[in-house]
Symmetry: C2
């Protein structure tokens, strides 16, 4: 088979749990191969002989349909289950292979595999921190309330649709950070200064910046052909908010080319925030 | 060094991007070692000689402080950067090692490493789906509105504090699913049937169930020593809602022992929902 002929491959992520680990790693690895189209499928909760045999059937069907064998990323810890998966017509990429034994040798402790608990199950303290932070983000979204800003870890500001809300929620879910957000409106921008209510929390403020092109595209989706979504309006708002960030000395980040994960991780780093949960 | 003496180890997750991949995999691997305390630290955006040298210093300091060398998980794609990290006094666990070359041999395509883009950067369609779904979850949280239920992918129901909101938000962020949620109140339970507004969307309903012990613990955090948080009240509500799930034939899930990720992944599977984004 020549390299040119292989442009599409089916990929399976298989786990006895959510398969999030296998999927996350697989995505990273596969993104290193440009120009190949991967059809990615997740098979979670493979924790019995039956579910493993069903997975093998699914994999084999894909092999026949594609005319070439699929890639399989697995994080299975039960050897009997893995043996069944290994009978499939596929390239098996055991994510844990080698690493477990290296760690074991280094720390001098034998692994104690627990099926389906590779994500640690319910850590009560972590669970509580996450849920509390998610509710904090919801209650303090879009400037809805400002009276809890004294307990916020961070307050995101930016123009409408610059990505504040999803970033706050991701900060809460992934890191347990209590993040509020406040939209800087046209009125605020006309005054060319921070809204009064934000002044005393200036040390908690963090600005989002976005390119006018991208802001136009996002706003067009919401209100097509409106003044709100026009290039001129977007550019005006962004210039004005950039002026406020600069004159007030507020740290900010250009998020135009970033995913929500990247924005949240960068903010954590730039603002020097300490995560409240271990991940 | 004897096995007994090693109870604590410092672990670093290092990447040229967010380090989420290294961290996710590392967590899974380390959870296989019970009784060992891992102090986990993330060093994201190691993408230059300077940041790599700073990381080495941090690792070496931990080695001195701990009296034993740390574990380092990295997903670095730049060989020059990785070489610097490898000079640290640590056990280096290269997450990508071996896997990239296996995939390359199988598909007959050479990898084209792009630093800092292992998460694929901004995929505009994915970004839009996620953001739209997050806003949908927020707008349709806690029964706030019901007029958009016709475009919902799923509507979660359950008693107060059974985990509906964080699950909806996770479904949106991770899978691009449009998830609404509706709290079943005591009044609804007294009537022993579904609220009227939900009847026509019965095929989209999915119930959350939780143990009375866990519900008491969660509600105690919110309103300590209230009737709302009493065992009797929680048990009564849960029995009543279980009756509704059964009589109405609504699929449901016991989430008492699950993390938010697990709840969302299970629901996706049980309800047969198709994710709108690739992860």
């Amino acid at each position: 088979m020549s390299a040119e002929s292989i442009l599409k491959r089916t990929v399976f992520f298989i786990s006895d749990g959510t398969a999030i680990t296998a999927e996350t790693l697989g995505h990273s690895l596969l993104s290193q191969f440009a120009n190949v189209e991967f059809d990615m499928r997740i098979i979670p909760y493979v924790d019995s002989e039956e579910t493993a045999l069903a997975a093998v059937q699914t994999i084999n069907r894909a092999a026949v349909d594609d005319g070439c064998r699929p890639l399989v990323f697995d994080t299975l810890v039960n050897p009997a289950i893995r043996e069944i998966i290994n009978t499939a017509n596929a390239l098996n990429l055991d994510v844990f292979e080698g690493l477990i034994s290296k760690i074991s040798a280094e720390i001098g402790v034998q692994p104690s595999p627990v099926v389906g608990h590779s994500h640690g199950g319910v850590d009560t303290q972590n669970y509580k921190s996450r849920i509390d932070s998610v509710h904090f983000a919801l209650d303090n979204d879009d400037g809805a309330r400002t009276r809890h800003y004294d307990v916020a870890d961070i307050i995101l500001i930016g123009v409408s649709r610059s990505g504040k809300t999803p970033t706050c929620i991701y900060l809460a879910l992934q890191f347990g950070i209590r993040a509020a957000n406040y939209p800087i409106t046209e009125e605020d921008l006309d005054d060319n200064r921070l809204p009064k209510v934000l002044k005393e929390y200036k040390h908690k403020l963090f600005g989002l910046m976005i390119s006018p092109e991208r802001l136009v595209a996002i706003r067009q989706e919401r209100k097509a052909n409106s003044r709100y979504a026009s290039f001129q309006q977007c550019q005006m708002e962004l210039r004005a908010i950039q002026g406020i960030y600069t004159s007030e000395g507020i740290p900010w980040l250009d998020v135009s080319e970033m995913s929500v994960e990247e924005i949240a991780t960068r903010i954590l780093q730039v603002a020097g925030l300490k995560r409240r949960i271990s991940g």
